[in-house]
Structures are given as C-alpha cells and as structure tokens.
Amino acid sequence: MEKILIIISVLCLCACKPKLKPTEPKAGKVNPNNIVYIGTNDMAGYSDGALSNDGQKNSLAYLIAQQLKNIGGGEITQPLVEEFYNGFGLSNVTSTIVTAKSYLSNKADCKGVVALSPIKPNANATYANLRASLTPANYNNLSVPFAKSFHFLQPSYGTNTSYYYNPFFERFAKNKNTSSVISDAENIAPTFFVLQPALYDVLQYAMNGGAADSITNITRFETAIDNLINKLTANGANGAVINVPDVTTFPYFKTITYNGLTLDSAKVKDLTLVYNVISSGSISFSVGANPFVIYDASAPIGARQIKADEFILLNTPTDSLKCNFFGSLNPLNDRNVLTTSEINLIKTAITKFNNKLKSVCDQKNLAYVDANSFYNTLSGGIIYNGVTVNALFVKGGAFSLDGINLNPFGNALLANECIKAINKQYQSNIPHLSATNYRGVVFP
C-alpha cells in the first residue's frame, strides 16, 4: 500500500510539470554591446498625437530593446518626457503650439449624435517645456519625431535658429548648438543599430494633403541614406533598416468616406441651384450619398467632386462637414484632400525610397524590415493570438488615436517584424514579443 502511494505521488509530481524547452536565445551576428535606435515617431514613442512618457515606454525602439536583452542587449535609455505632462504634440515641426495626447470618449456632434471620438484635453505643457533641455546623457534612442532622412545628418538640428530645427531634438541633443542626430549616434560607437530613416520624407507631405511640404527629392534621399548608413557601419556595426510603408493605408487617410455627403431632396435642390450656374453641369447631386466637393485648381471651375479613390484627411473638421456645408457649398481645401495625382506622387516616391533602402541593405548585409508589407497586411486584417486587428480607425485596434502612429499593441506587432528580419539576416534567435501584453485602444 505504501509503495503504491509512493508511486502515485511520484507520478503526480512528474505529471504536474510537463516539461517543454524553449529555444535558447542566440545573438548570431548581432553584436548587442552598443545598440542605437534612430527613427521618427513610432521609434520615439509619439502616439495619440503627442510624445508622452507612456508612449515612450511603449515606443517601437523600447519594445525592440526589451527583446534584444535576451541576447545581451542593455537597457534602452530614452529622453523621457516628465510623467506630469499630458503630451508634447505638434501639428508639424514648425508649429509652436503644444497639444496634449488624445483620449477616447463619447461626444455629441453638431447634430447631437453621441459617438466615440478622440478628445484632446488642454495641454499642460508649453512650447518652452518641450524645448527645455534634459540632463545630457548618452541616450541610445535618438529617434526624433517628424525627422526626415537628411535631417538626421544636419548639424545643429537642435539649434533653434537653424534652418532645419527640431525642438524634440533640442530636448536631448548632446550639444544643442552643434549636434546632429548622427553625430550623437557616432558618439556611442554603436555595434548594432535599428534605423527607421524615411517615414516623414513622404508622410509630412501626405498629412498636409500635398498642400504644404514636399516629398524628398530622390537624389537627396539617396545621398542621405548612403551617408547615414556609411557612418553607422563605419566601425563594422550591423543593423536593421525599416522601410517606408504605404502611408495612404493609415486611418488618417481612410476614415472619412469620399461620398459621405448625405443629401435630402431639399438640399439637392439648393445645391443644384448653386452649382448648375457655375459648373455648367460638371457638379451634380442626387438624393442620398454624394461625393464631397473639393477645390482643385486643375478643374474647369476650380472645384470638382472627389473621386472614389481619393482621400479626405482626418484634419478635416467633421462638424463642418455635417452641419456647415463644408465639402458641398464650401469645397474642401487642398490640405484636407489627397487627390489622385498626389497619391501617385506619394506611391511612386515610396517605391523609389524602398528600392534604395533594399539595395543598401543588400550591399551592406543589413536586415531589411519590410514595414510596407506589414502595413499592407494590417489593412487587410491580421489575426494575432485570437485578436483580429486591422487598419481601421479606433475599432481596428492597432493605430493610436492620431490615425498615423501605432498604439503599443501595434508597435509590438511591428517590433516583431523587426525581430523577424534581424533573426533572418543574422542567424540570431531573438524571441518575439507577446504583443497582447501591450495595450490597444483604451475605451471609456
């Protein structure tokens, strides 16, 4: 009897812990001694329309760094925003008005319809707070929101009087009078780098509806990339380069439908009366859904109806669309719209940029992270450990409330793409993040 009890106990003990052995992490050809992270918004932790402490602690760079620790990578040091501030948000790099990060809440629109909308609280930080230099440190996340490829090379990029100036870099530049992002990076003597060099080379233009800013000239782009990569690899460092996604898949461009102008017969009559005279029939309306009217200098009367494959941007005031004849009596402005020709410019540039990045990676044996393919897949929908995510605004679950930058969950998915590319290129074995540990959209 005793023997039987002993056997049962032993069996129970064995059975209690079925053994599974995880694959040992392996560095491969990754030298994790000094890792540097250079990129723009996602890499810096700019999310929900602002750079914030919370966003930085879920930045793409931070998340990649957590996994690189498995192969001996050190702690990531980031120029953290003080927790007290509710965000350093700028509408563009030259703006001096700081806005807070958004949160999601129920809000009544001009028609009294209550729906979930991103809300921006009043900012508790000023532009001076944003510019205030942090204690100098050897930050190894040197990512700067809004930076373009050639900006990373600009000396005095953190100097307020420079032609190319970025207050986010002024915050943490080693020497705000002279530093460039790349000189601060060289100062660390990186053995490995993660570089996201080119997002804003098209994104800034796209976010302005093609009305301001310009896409980086390809020659300038290629020179900048060669310089960046040459400097980063000068001492034999390996690294990963994140390519440029098709930014037009972002919810910022895909949320407002082109034919959201809903008209009843009275309104159709009114609008027809107005446009019949001036457009001689080129703009017409019918009861139900209609395409919005936009300004277009190339149209015969300087305005036309938007086409199904053109985009209305999230910078468009939607209450004006619903209640103030914006997009009908008052055509939408150039800055609110991406037209076919603008979209083509963007897509062509992205293809060229990515061709360049791919060929540099091939030449220098760098890991090529195909973020473009990731975002394309995302817009069709990804199922990840039982969660379906896609590129829809708010309900898609991967993008933050600015419709441009990913939320922490989205960043974790993209971080895994980076890790995949590194593992493939350098025969390393870096485990992926368990992405569901990182928050998606927060609901009220």
Partner: protein
C-alpha cells in the same frame, strides 16, 4: 471628428467543451476501476456492474450483481510553449472528480434477466489558464460537467450469448470564459462568460458472446448524444462606453458527444491470467462545427460558427489481470489513442494529441460481500499546433494522472 460606430467585428467566440485530459477529444473511459486498470479495455470481461457502461450485453453474465461506487480524481496539467515569444504558460486546472455509481440486480437469483442503472460522469474537468495569458482572447476557462443516467436491461439468452440495452439521459453544464480585446480606462480587458445547462439523450447497446469458457467477445454501440444548451446565459463585461454593443442575453448551442463502437475480447490464458483487448471506433466526425446562437445580436455580437472538423478515430487497448490469490488481483494495461483533432484545429482547451496510456490496478476482496478496486492511469502527450482561427502557434504538452478507487457491495 468623424462619428465612429463601435462595431467590433473581431469578437468571435470560439469554444469547445472537451475533456481532453483522460481520453481523445471527449471520449473518456474512466467508468470502472477494473477496466481502468487494464487501459479501459475489458468490455468482454464479465466481472462487475461497470459492464453496464462498457457493454450492457456483458452485464448479463455478471453474477450475482451488486452495487459499486467509485471516484477517479483526475489531475491534468498542460504547458504551452508559444513559438513566437518562446514563453511557457501552464494551466491551473483543478482536479477533476469523475465518479461512477452502478447497481445491477436480478428479480430472482435464477433469472436470466437483470436490471441495472449506471450513473457516471463522462466529463468533469475544468481547463483553466492563468489570468492575462497570451491566449486570453481565445479562452481563459472552460468548465464542463456531465452526468449520464443509464437505466439498463440485460438478458442472458443462453450460456453463449448476452444482450443488453440502456437508455441514456444526460444532464450537464458548461461555463466558458474568455477575454474580449476591448480595454477600459482602468486597464482591464472585457470578459465574456457563457454559462448554461445542457441535456441530451442516447442509448447504449451491447452483445456478448462466450463461445468457450476461455474466450469471449463483445460488441457495443454507444449512440451519439447531442448536448443542447437551450437558455444559456451570455454575460459580457466591457468598457461602459461600448457596453451597449455587448448585451447580456441568452444563447443556444449544441455539443455532440460522439457515437462509439467497441469491439472487445477476453482470453483466459490460465486459471490466474486473463488478457483483454478492446478497439474503440469513435464517431468524431459529428463534431464539425461549434456554433453559438445569441438571442440578441448586435454588429459586435454575431452568431458564431467555428470549424472543428474532427475526424473519426480509433483507440486500441490491451490489458491483463492476474489473480494473485483468492483475495488479490493485479492489473496492467497499455493503450494507444489517435487524436480526432486535425492539424490547424488544435485549441488551448483541447490541446489533444495521439497518446500512449499506461495503467495499473488491483482489487482486494475483503469478504464475500465487499470488494475494493483501485487503479492508476497515466498519460503524457505533446502536440505542435497552429490554430487557423486564432493563429495561435506553439507546442502543447499535457500530462494526466488519474488514481481511482471504488467500493463494491456484492449481493
């Protein structure tokens, strides 16, 4: 800002109710300590009242009859190694307690007709994963309980052949929980709980043939039992701002418990040694789809149909019983079970795989009226799997120990 509706198409309830621990898929063969000691073979071995379950035809040859009560605490443990993150999750499932109660009696001692009743719990396990585990949006807990009541009539036609038939009335309950990927402002994810009572009907037929004293055969057929949940409660707990999309309400669902055809044989090697072998053919194909039909649908809460696509399968069982003396018997058994779950459809609540089963057991006859039977069951199996529906991918390893005991009063 644009007005957003709050349709969340990604809420797909997937679930299945399976006791993966002690038999492939749903099939459990912990319904008699003597059989359990021989890897759950022994349908052609007329020894005690548990033949009511294993083969009602065999029960005709059990004499004189009696009453037995048994319990088999089942200790399942599953570990999951996520292939992407290389992290390991261990289940926190409590011990299951399947029990059996049988009574078999004849109106007159000399009668060839016997009546019996079997009460047994073919499912009784809970699969529970830790809070916030990486598969939380697929499943966090599945608790399934069933009790089968089987009144049985069995008739010994002559010294060669016995026939038996039982009617099965099954009752049960299911409780399924998972998280919903909607985060509230306090950092909590939503949660769904489906809770319901189920019932179903079936039957159990068997024929027993004993051509010689040394040799016997058994063929039994246990029908499919469709467990229907008619007015289950679906409760959702999500961020207030979107709660209207997840109305609490009723749901219906059906879970098929498959038919089983068993062919068994017993051969008496000598006065002390008996060998038994059983083959089960299990009609798992019935479990094609798991569907939940919600009384109140919204754009976020649609009726769901999850493909399961199980296949029919076999289990092979071998066992032996040795009479040490007048009072003591010892048993061993080995079985091999083929999983009905196809690659691509393995779920965290059914990390099923092909497995070997090892068992042992003994009996002690205290006096002419009382007997104690005990058994121990052990299995361990591993399954590398990706699930098409949730895209979860990794390796499951499960180990189960089930020590059981029963007491028997012999008329």
């Amino acid at each position: 800002m644009n007005s957003f509706n709050t349709k969340f198409l990604y809420f797909i309830l997937i679930a299945s109710a399976i006791n993966y621990a002690s038999g492939q898929g749903f099939q459990v063969n912990l319904q008699g300590q003597k059989q359990q000691g021989m890897a759950s073979a022994g349908s052609a071995f007329a020894q005690d009242e548990s033949s009511i379950f294993y083969n009602p035809g065999t029960a005709a040859f059990v004499r004189p009859g009696g009453i037995s009560l048994g319990v088999t605490p089942t200790i399942p443990n599953t570990a999951f190694l996520d292939s992407a993150s290389q992290t390991i999750t261990r289940t926190q499932s409590p011990i299951g307690t399947p029990f059996t109660a049988y009574a078999l009696f004849a109106i007159k001692d000399s009668s060839n007709l016997k009546f019996g009743i079997g009460v047994y719990t073919p499912f009784g396990s809970t699969v529970q994963y830790p809070k916030a585990w990486l598969g939380r949006f697929a499943i966090t807990q599945l608790k399934l309980q069933t009790i089968f009541f089987q009144p049985t009539i069995t008739y010994k036609i002559n010294e060669l052949v016995g026939l038996g038939a039982g009617f099965v009335n099954a009752i049960g309950s299911v409780n399924l929980q998972k998280d919903i990927p909607i985060l509230d402002s306090l950092g909590n994810y939503g949660n769904a709980e489906l809770d319901g009572r189920a019932n179903g009907y079936g039957f159990n037929l068997g024929v027993y043939v004993k051509p010689t004293r040394k040799l016997s055969f058994a063929l039994s057929y246990r029908s499919q039992v469709n467990m229907r949940v008619k007015f289950g409660n679906a409760n959702f707990n999500v961020a207030k701002g979107v709660a209207a999309n997840f109305p609490n309400g009723k749901f219906t669902a059906t879970l098929p418990l498959p038919q089983v055809i068993t062919f068994g044989t017993r051969y008496q090697v000598n006065e002390k040694l008996n060998l038994v072998a059983d083959i089960n053919y299990v009609g798992w194909k019935a479990y094609d789809t798991l569907a939940f039909d919600y009384e109140t649908n919204t754009s976020s809460l649609l009726d769901t149909k999850s493909p399961r696509l199980y296949k029919n399968t076999f289990a092979f069982r071998l066992g032996g019983q040795y009479d040490i003396n007048e009072k003591f018997q010892a048993r061993v058994g080995i079985a091999y079970g083929i999983s009905p779950v196809q690659q691509g459809y393995v779920t965290p609540e059914t990390p099923d795989g092909n497995r070997f089963i090892f068992t042992g057991g003994w009996s002690y006859l205290i006096n002419q009226h009382f007997q104690v039977d005990a058994s121990i069951y052990f299995t361990q199996f591993k399954r590398e799997a990706i699930n098409y529906e949730t895209k979860m991918s990794g390796t499951y390893k499960t180990a189960v120990v089930a020590p059981g005991i029963s007491v028997r009063y012999i008329f």
